[in-house]
Symmetry: C2
Subunit: 570 residues, 2 copies
């Protein structure tokens, strides 16, 4: 253990204290922190307790097993001789946050790829594409993501010619911000053998410019180009996983539900686990039945690597996304009246897929954005619940646009609504354009969900959105975007209290993954995953929550990241 | 721990001893054996020491870490208070044997499938196929293996009609004993859409009966039917792995090199490891580059699960097998002068495959049966060794028929000859028919290999042959088959001493897998994997070695199997 890795909690004290601390440090050098009881004292701690009530504490005692041993309140007698005593200096402590819906490898790849998510116009994007190509001369393909023609106010999809104007010599393939459309240059279409005669597969669409493909491919049609992209090398996946974990820890995420793990992703996670490089806890939902059965076999895996990895179920898809008009709606799109989205499966098909997973006790999580897709799943679950009894925790991912008459059906079967508050802030204008305000009564309807006793799990859908959970918390309590729009919030009756929002990213997300006995709450016996943050999210003005800075991130009773020093090697 | 799981070493003693033992048993019930030192006393122990010299011992002290702590000889002072003391009653102890080339899942599947390896005629095979079909009405396909038209003295390959005569209503697909040919009935060919117009892929051959496929498919052509066979369910793979381990332990194998692990096999191994159900040690060589890179990524995995699983390298193929005339020869087959076998790759291709693995420090093991295939690999390794320096341990699997002028080339680059003594006993008649005696001067040439200082690793190629390593030891010292043919041995100058043969299945096989620091020898610090067997293989008449019975099999200082009780749950 090197000096720079010592807890920063010791920092900023006087001389005498330094000497005392030095003795403690000497002890630390003799044994790793996790092998002894650690008292973190003098914090302003918050956690939801077993009954879901927000409680406060002033000190946390962590056992040698990396689990919480005791919460202490002001005046409580401290243990006589904890092996280590750290001074929290009055900072705010909360449980490590859980992202209930993210894409772990995707986040790492995004950080390593061309990122267009901050571009405000097509021209800005073109400048950035050109600069990236110049800075990265070796890769055979330039791959990126993050564009959003809505944000650009382009009034149309971009085209291959828009990229050709800046990069012509190499294939370029750029996914839309929601991952539901791809934008290719001419070289990419040539490499993928796309011609005017190419046909979109079911569930997909090729945008046309006259008689030829324009360069944009929607949903299932993305695979026409995507399959020509050279797959990342295993080494690149390992880097992406490391990068992703670093980002998560820095944002205050200690656990994540990986929504769509393929065999290659899983291999990278296992390599990281085998090499003691898993630093966050990953609850994996396989990308369809094939990897699920291939990897996990006859049932969910146990928690592996000291509670850092588990494959518990499957991710399925019922429809596409709203931005690319792939979301499956009960009525046509207002801004494209001939379309009503893409239903990926017949009722029988989706039921059979869900049933195959459920029969081996796998948890089932299904993507559904549009009101029609959600209705299909509600019907499927109502039917399946008659066969598969017990505590199944069927999950609907996104549960974005619900017909108000359908919301009560979530509660009746205790179906988990796995929602991403930031989507509301990103989407509200587009949602109004796509569907009109009057059809959005059940859109991003967090408060109505809770009123209907629907178990709510919150996440970010990173890298579609920033993984920063404080953005999600802020949106959940304000219904305003980063620019404060619309002032007072969009459909403000759906705002949550901070306590409700906090539950979504802690106990709610843990419950959604059958992990409430270990994650999401700082109580004796639960894992000591916690954050020290720079402000009290329960008392600052709601808009300030977004800018919360994580100071330290602890996983299993050991510090995994700190602001001043970055990642802390285990 | 239940009574029936207690060490059988206590069995068969007088009353007073029983009382004393009962006290010891009570202690055992309080703590698992591996958590304390165990002295196994009063054995006739043999092991090769660090210098490869056979040494004897009378007692073995095993540490709490499952490793050997001390070997004690007659008269050596015993430790004052070992936690457990077991009486070996004078039985013979040897290190757990290592199969340097087996197919772990294949062995389990074989045990669960139709097995024709004991049939002596086509008629016997037909009776067995019919009986299996009657006993197993549910599987959609009947799959099996083990037929050998040579052993049947059929003078031809069997045909689809031969199966149709007994099973017509379901597809039947039966692999030849060497895995290099498959035999289908008409329903299987129909399911696989085989017609008179079907073409064999490169490296394969469709046997014809007049203008139509006869039902037998050689090497690469097997895939034409094989791809239509429904893949085993993960659950079935788990059963196969459990079955395979049970068979290995019962035969005295505690470790195995799995020669050709695919992604599904690896998943089953990981599931077993995750659930604490890995009972033997598996050193995995991936079935080609794709699973290698997908699973292991940028280099060999560490030893996982307390030293029970590691992916260290890749298995590649240079040619087919002799029985199906797929072995690639320098001159035409004597019994089919228009054929000289199937070379699977050009010189450049095989070199590139080997190079890709070696560049990430993976070990490379390549199948080569015929003299031309071996020559190709020797040339490739000579060239690659200039780039990939250091301790690479290139392996040639089988190294079966070598041009005598090529043998010295193995020694010069310390290329490991990974050979299976039982193949000699199974093949010698066929080898003479295929090539004529005068071209076999370097065939199954174990003694010549050793004279040329070639590192030798022995195995069985199970399930092509029985996994029983005592069969291999017996053949290695006699060059006679199970029936004692030919008396005095075939090419008897290639016989080995028992010490040399024993090295092949212990230290040699360990060295071939970079595992000599942990496996193959009972020395302080090495893993306490050992057997108690019913005879002294170093003193009984060589032919009696074949019938050696394993009494107990210990892995990592804990009993894993015993004859009277079968598998011992960890």
């Amino acid at each position: 253990m090197k000096n720079r890795e010592l807890p920063s909690l010791f920092a900023g004290r006087g001389r005498g204290w330094v000497r005392a601390a030095t003795a403690a440090l000497a002890a630390l050098l003799l044994a790793p922190a996790a092998s002894a009881d650690t008292l973190v004292d003098n914090v302003k701690g918050y956690t939801l307790n077993e009954r879901g009530v927000l409680v406060t504490f002033e000190a946390l005692l962590v056992g040698t097993d990396g689990r919480v041993k005791q919460l202490l309140r002001k005046g409580d007698r401290r243990p006589d001789r904890p092996d280590y005593r750290l001074d929290g200096r009055g900072r705010v402590m909360i449980p490590g946050l859980i992202d209930g819906h993210g894409h772990v490898l995707g986040l790492g790849f995004q950080a390593m790829q061309l990122d267009l998510s901050d571009t405000r116009s097509l021209e800005e994007a073109q400048v950035k594409i050109a600069a990236f190509a110049a800075a990265n001369p070796s890769p055979r393909w330039i791959v990126g993501r993050g564009w959003n023609q809505e944000r650009w106010n382009l009034g149309r999809f971009p085209t291959a010619a828009d990229i050709d104007a800046v990069v012509r010599d190499r294939p370029v393939w750029l996914e839309r911000i929601d991952g539901h459309a791809g934008w290719a240059n001419s070289a990419a279409m040539e490499a993928a053998k796309i011609t005017a005669a190419s046909k979109a597969p079911t569930g997909g669409k090729i945008e046309m410019a006259g008689k030829a493909p324009s360069g944009v491919f929607i949903d299932a049609a993305m695979e026409l180009v995507g399959k020509a992209v050279p797959p990342p090398l295993p080494r690149t996946r390992d880097e992406a996983l490391a990068k992703s974990q670093e980002i998560m820890l820095s944002q205050g995420l200690t656990s994540v539900a990986d929504m769509g793990t393929n065999v290659e992703d899983w291999s990278a996670m296992r390599r990281a686990g085998d090499a003691n490089r898993l630093r966050v806890r990953i609850l994996s939902y396989a990308m369809g039945l094939d990897p699920l059965l291939s990897i996990a076999g006859a049932g969910p895996t146990p928690w592996l690597y000291d509670g850092r990895l588990r494959m518990i179920g499957v991710k399925l898809y019922s429809d596409g996304a709203l931005g690319s008009r792939g979301a499956w709606l009960k009525a046509p799109y207002q801004d494209s009246p001939k379309e009503s989205g893409l239903g990926f499966n017949s009722d029988a098909e989706i039921r059979n897929l869900m049933s195959r997973a459920a029969m081996d006790n796998f948890q089932v999580a299904v993507h559904a954005i549009g009101d029609k897709a959600n209705e299909q799943l509600l019907g499927a679950i109502e039917e399946l619940a008659e066969t598969y009894k017990g505590d199944r925790r069927w999950r609907i991912e996104h549960a974005q646009i619900i017909d108000p008459t359908d919301i009560a059906r979530f509660g009746r079967n205790s179906i988990i609504a796995s929602m991403q508050p930031v989507h509301e802030a990103s989407d509200w204008r587009m949602a109004e354009a796509r569907m009109g305000r009057e059809r959005l009564g059940g859109a991003y309807a967090w408060a109505t969900m809770l009123q209907n006793k629907v178990p709510l799990a919150f996440g970010s859908d990173f890298p579609v959105e920033s993984p920063n959970p404080f953005h999600g918390l802020a949106v959940a309590v304000t219904r305003e975007d980063a620019e404060g729009q619309p002032p007072g919030g969009w459909m403000p009756e759906q705002k949550l209290t901070m306590e409700q929002a906090f539950a979504g990213f802690t106990t709610g997300a843990a419950f959604a993954g059958f992990a409430e006995e270990r994650l999401g709450s700082l109580q004796p016996g639960r894992l000591a995953d916690f954050l020290l943050i720079d402000r009290d999210i329960f008392t600052v003005p709601p808009r300030d929550v977004r800018d919360t800075q994580v100071l330290e991130t602890w996983v299993g009773g050991r510090k995994a990241w700190e602001r001043s020093k970055g990642a802390v090697t285990r």
